[in-house]
């Protein structure tokens, strides 16, 4: 199969199967129907994975292509085509996306075994994957925009999937709206790029010569969209709340789709960003703030999934930071390793939640002997997250730090101060990451069990309260949930070593790995962070190390209270405006219309009354009118 066929098929297969899946009749009970839905979902992801493999082996060259696309619309002088360009980097990202999607599909069959709405769920996961692949593969900016927004809608549907969680609908709406606010900028940015280049085709846009002002404006606008999708400050607030979605969906959103899309789009447009110091400096500030906010907020969470969610915010900050200091290769490398270890962590978290029936770390503990597979998954995932050598995260994080340190010497597009900012934030946060990873690990798997008493857990997993029985002792998940963990653990552990493989390195245009003295500093911080967490845990048995944060704890747990700020600055003004608009509409605009109607009726009534005058008065009126008319006639003549 040639690239011309495999490229377009890559997003089309999951999208089409997703649409077919949505058209399946709903309802539970029928096992065949369920099996069909699962089959369609898994097939979509598996075929896409094979196609991605095919494309990794033989990616398209950037000179290929425009003519192969199918014209969707000619609007004005813009021609929108369904055209794809899967170069080496895109192929690797597609591989990561499809691998994670396949794991999520298989895992979900068991995780949602008692959910009557499994069929639309599986179809939406397919759509989600297809939309992400559209962003990855598409070489038309409008096509990317389509994939970009369809992902937003899918995330909305999937986050709001759980009918038993009262917070799920609100979290879903928040995810869609916050990203949509960013997308205002994304649409406008694309509009500026496209209108100036008179083409929607990506290579044409990249080759176009923009004036610096236009370019910076467009790129900053696009950054707004990137901040929304990739959960960057100040639009990151939706991501922790999105934990209301089923755990496999969290894996999908955090590892493969959605949050990776923003980083990928900047990567894809990097030739333009490389021309704009202002845009890169903005990105650097955004990234630094995000890295620190994410890492610090993760320290105080009690919800297992929320720790992971905040860690994603922080890790995506590393990627945007790498982009900001002019190293798209390091960003992409971290994206790939992060996809592996974050998917692993979330699926393993699902296994923990499945076993103990709660999200809360304060009700876990002592799980290690009961769940060895999950334990080791967590060990590898958290190690990679913290950057422990030789796990994958170590290598990619080293790359980011090296790139930032290199850029502090100047000579890059981004100003040196921005590089210093990224470097400092990234370095500090290595220690913080090690601290919260260690805390999570110790609180969940070591020490005595803090499972709730004989009356059962307060929060049950699964979708049918009546049927679910808490297992007597926590145990590893059944095979369809266990195998995805084992499979994902391999890249999470070893993907970093791929940096030594020349083929991979040239595909990503990655620098040669070199371990110099510079590694010592992050390793020292890592050891300090992990050691402090361990010491706090060990010194006071049973106490949460986060208590050491003191009064900062609740503040950090609430994510720096940025939700309140957002509520005050955006939600309330919008509500007030809506109130005024409605009042204005009824009191002024419509009242004017109704007033005209009433006024006309009144005037009619008055005239009617005038015609009912008694005879003498009427005679006077007639004479007066005659006089008046006569006067006018005389005056006019």
């Amino acid at each position: 199969m040639s690239v011309d066929v495999a490229g377009p098929l890559l997003p089309l297969v999951p999208l089409l199967l997703g649409l077919i899946g949505l058209a399946l009749p709903p309802g539970d009970g029928d096992r065949n129907r369920r099996r069909l839905a699962a089959g369609i979902g898994v097939t979509g992801a598996a075929v896409a994975l094979l196609l991605a493999f095919r494309l990794v082996l033989d990616p398209a060259q950037s000179s290929d292509g425009w003519d192969t696309g199918l014209t969707l619309a000619v609007i004005g002088d813009l021609e929108v085509r369904f055209s794809t360009l899967v170069d080496a980097a895109a192929a690797y990202v597609a591989l990561a996306v499809t691998a994670v999607a396949l794991c999520v599909q298989i895992y979900s069959i068991t995780y949602l075994h008692d959910d009557p709405r499994y069929a639309p769920y599986a179809a939406q996961v397919s759509l989600f994957t297809g939309a992400m692949l559209l962003v990855v593969a598409g070489s038309d900016l409008i096509l990317m925009l389509i994939g970009w927004e369809v992902m937003g809608a899918c995330s909305y549907l999937l986050i709001g999937h759980d009918r038993r969680l009262p917070e799920a609908p609100a979290a879903a709406v928040k995810a869609f709206l916050v990203t949509r606010i960013g997308d205002i900028g994304f649409l406008l940015g694309i509009a500026v790029l496209v209108a100036d280049a008179k083409s929607t085709y990506l290579p044409d846009v990249l080759a176009h010569d923009y004036s610096p002002g236009t370019l910076t404006a467009a790129l900053l606008l696009i950054l707004a969209g990137v901040a929304g999708k990739s959960a960057q400050f100040p639009l990151h607030t939706w991501l922790p709340d999105a934990m209301a979605g089923p755990t496999p969906i969290s894996a999908l959103i955090h590892a493969a789709t959605m949050v990776a899309a923003g980083v990928y789009v900047v990567f894809r447009l990097f030739p333009l960003y490389a021309q704009s110091p202002a845009a890169l400096a903005t990105l650097a500030v955004m990234a630094s703030v995000t890295i620190l906010i994410g890492a610090l907020s993760a320290t105080a969470q009690d919800d297992l999934k929320r720790v992971l969610a905040w860690s994603t915010v922080s890790q995506i900050g590393y990627m945007t930071g790498a982009l900001a200091v002019g190293s798209p290769a390091a960003a992409l490398f971290h994206l790939l390793t992060h996809a592996a270890f974050k998917a692993l962590l979330f699926l393993a978290a699902g296994a923990v939640i499945h076993a103990v029936g709660t999200n809360l770390l304060s009700r876990m503990g002592g799980l290690r002997p009961h769940m060895p597979v999950t334990f080791w998954s967590f060990a590898i995932g958290l190690g990679a997250l913290a950057g422990l050598p030789p796990l994958s995260g170590f290598w990619s994080k080293e790359n980011v730090l090296t790139a930032a340190a290199h850029a502090t010497e100047g000579g890059e597009t981004a100003p040196a101060w921005a590089a210093w900012l990224v470097w400092l934030a990234a370095l500090l946060s290595v220690g913080v990451t090690a601290w919260y990873a260690t805390r999570l690990f110790l609180r969940a798997f070591f020490g005595p069990s803090r499972a709730p008493g004989p009356y059962g857990p307060a929060w049950e997993v699964g979708f049918d309260d009546a049927r679910y029985q808490v297992p007597a002792a926590p145990h590893d998940p059944p095979a369809p949930m266990r195998w995805p963990l084992i499979l994902l653990a391999i890249p999470a552990a070893l993907l970093g070593l791929a940096a030594f493989a020349p083929g991979f390195r040239t595909a990503l245009e990655l620098d040669d790995p070199h371990l110099g003295v510079a590694v010592a500093l992050p390793m020292l911080l890592l050891a300090t962070g992990a050691g402090t967490a361990w010491w706090l845990w060990w010194a006071v048995p049973g106490a949460d190390p986060a208590l050491a944060l003191g009064r900062a704890g609740p503040f950090l747990a609430a994510g720096f209270r940025l939700d309140d700020v957002q509520h005050r600055l955006v939600v309330r003004p919008a509500e007030a405006l809506a109130r005024w608009a409605t009042t204005g509409d009824t009191r002024i605009v419509d009242a004017a219309v109704m007033g005209t109607g009433t006024g006309t009726s009144r005037a009619g009534d008055a005239l009617k009354e005038a015609h009912r005058l008694p005879l003498p008065a009427a005679a006077v009126a007639v004479c007066a009118a005659a006089l008046l008319l006569g006067a006018i006639a005389w005056w006019g003549a």
Binding site: V150, A153, R180, L188, L577, V589
Partner: protein
């Protein structure tokens, strides 16, 4: 003479145009006379035949349309696919001049489709007959290539719609119907003035002759465009001339709302493109900033008002104000891209809002209430209905890949393309309006589909009948199809639009 009169030897395409008007007219009479038990079948048959006829003009489309189809300067540059020109009342300069081209064709098909679906959907005899009468007026408006004829058809629509609302509407139907008819009549007076002004000054009402050729001096164009624009703005409706719409929609029966939103509003935007731009291009250029500002206000205000609505149908009605704002913004840019976006927006709004009104009407009828405070948890009791509502709402908020996206995104892109701080600001504000649109539709979904089921929702029957599937599935499929391939609508619009805008190749 500018034209050779070819005596009655009519070609088949010309007969098709006549049939497009005659079949529904005949259908209306037959339905009115037929026994009530058979009315649905008869009305459905006539409407389906009309729909099939409305699709046929695509076969008559000349193949080699292109820039080089332009002849010497004395030939009229606007070349309809089918052209039928008969003298009617020569004393008034009135000709029976009909035609189809790429601009009107999608709207004609949309009219045929929605009327057929509505006729198949409703069981009420009188309503079905009135729908067919409405169809005659709407099709005539889209077909007319003579200004006075255009005005006549434009007016034919008014009274049947009044009767539909007043006869089969909700509890406040009389007031709503009266407001609708008086408001739009006031607009029609302005339209009549504008039409007469153009016809007397130019000496002809032939739209082909008037389009793209300078018959009118600048001042007349300004006056004519002002009159026409206000008249069409009432119909479209453009803020602040929209207040008849929510009342009419809330009270109208389901099919009435579908036709009103799906087709009747398009007469305003179509008129603005075909008549306003075509006849008075200088006037349009003069007024376009004002039009742009009003369009953007409509987008924002419409969305903000929607955020506060508590009645299902009223919310959807106000959403039309915002959507038509995007359409008018596209028109206001006076660029081919902008007007193509407007045409796409027209069709998309017709399909999606039609579907939304079908669904809202069904939910309201079954639950016995349209209040958002009493509707909740629809996905618990009626998952299919909730899924369809979700689809329609997500389509309506302009999700890419569905029909609504192209019109809105390209209206914004066209405004950016126009350049300059003024249009960039308009584009930015319109894009913000897009986010607000998402906000109110998600609020609607959260209220209606999520959460625990209320007693009203628990009591409604979840099944979707065959008739309902029949009426809804074409809308769903077309929303998807146009979302994926907007070329379906735009295939042959570039050439007539360049002519309309007076851009010489």
């Amino acid at each position: 003479m500018y034209r050779d009169y070819v005596e009655p030897a009519w070609s088949a395409p010309q007969l098709l145009l006549i049939a497009l008007l005659l079949v529904p007219a005949l259908g209306a009479i037959v339905v009115a006379l037929a026994p009530a038990a058979r009315s649905r079948l008869v009305a459905g048959a006539f409407a389906t035949v009309t729909f099939v006829l409305s699709v046929l003009p695509i076969l008559m489309r000349p193949n080699d349309f292109g820039w080089f189809a332009y002849g010497p300067a004395d030939r009229p540059p606007l070349v309809p696919w089918i052209d039928l020109d008969l003298p009617w009342v020569p004393a008034l300069g009135l000709e029976f001049h009909l035609g189809v081209d790429g601009v009107s064709y999608p709207l004609i098909v949309l009219t045929g489709l929605l009327t057929a679906l509505c006729c198949a959907y409703t069981k009420k005899k009188g309503l079905a007959a009135l729908l067919l009468v409405l169809e005659v007026g709407v099709l005539g408006t889209f077909l007319a290539l003579d200004l006075i004829l255009f005005f006549l058809f434009f007016e034919v629509v008014l009274l049947p719609m009044y009767a539909v609302i007043a006869g089969w509407g909700g509890p406040n139907r009389r007031a709503a119907a009266r407001k609708f008819v008086l408001y739009t009549l006031a607009g029609s007076v302005l339209l009549l003035l504008g039409v007469l002004l153009v016809v007397t000054k130019a000496g002809t009402g032939d739209l082909i002759l008037l389009t793209g050729s300078p018959h009118l001096d600048r001042t007349t164009q300004y006056a004519a465009f002002a009159l026409l624009a206000v008249a069409f703005a009432v119909k479209a409706p453009l803020w602040p001339l929209h207040t008849w719409l929510p009342d009419a929609h809330t009270e109208a029966p389901t099919v009435g709302s579908v036709i009103l939103a799906g087709v009747l509003l398009k007469m305003g935007t179509y008129g603005l493109i075909r008549v306003g731009l075509g006849v008075a291009p200088d006037g349009a250029a003069w007024a376009s900033p004002v039009l742009g500002i009003l369009a953007v206000i409509a987008i924002i205000v419409g969305a903000l008002i929607c955020l506060r609505q508590t009645e299902l149908k009223r919310l959807i009605a106000y959403s039309s104000v915002g959507h038509m704002g995007f359409v008018l913004l596209g028109i206001a840019t006076l660029s081919v891209a902008g007007i193509q976006a407007a045409l796409l927006g027209n069709i998309a709004h017709g399909l999606i809002t039609g579907l939304l009104f079908f669904l809202a009407g069904t939910i309201k009828d079954r639950a016995g209430t349209g209040s958002l405070n009493q509707l909740s948890g629809l996905r618990e009791t009626a998952p299919r209905l909730a899924a369809l509502l979700g689809f329609a709402a997500i389509a309506s908020l302009g999700l890419p890949g569905l029909a609504g996206f192209w019109g809105e995104a390209f209206a914004v892109i066209a405004a950016v393309d126009r350049g300059g701080p003024f249009w960039l600001t308009l584009a930015a504000v319109a894009a913000i309006g897009g986010a607000l649109t998402a906000a109110y539709f998600l609020r609607l979904l959260r209220r209606v589909t999520h959460g625990p089921a209320t007693p009203e929702v628990r009591s409604l029957s979840p099944a979707i009948t065959g008739t309902e599937w029949l009426a809804w599935s074409p809308l769903i499929l077309l929303t998807l199809a146009i979302g994926v391939a907007p070329a379906l609508v735009l295939s042959d619009t570039a050439q007539p639009l360049t002519t309309l805008l007076g851009i010489r190749p």
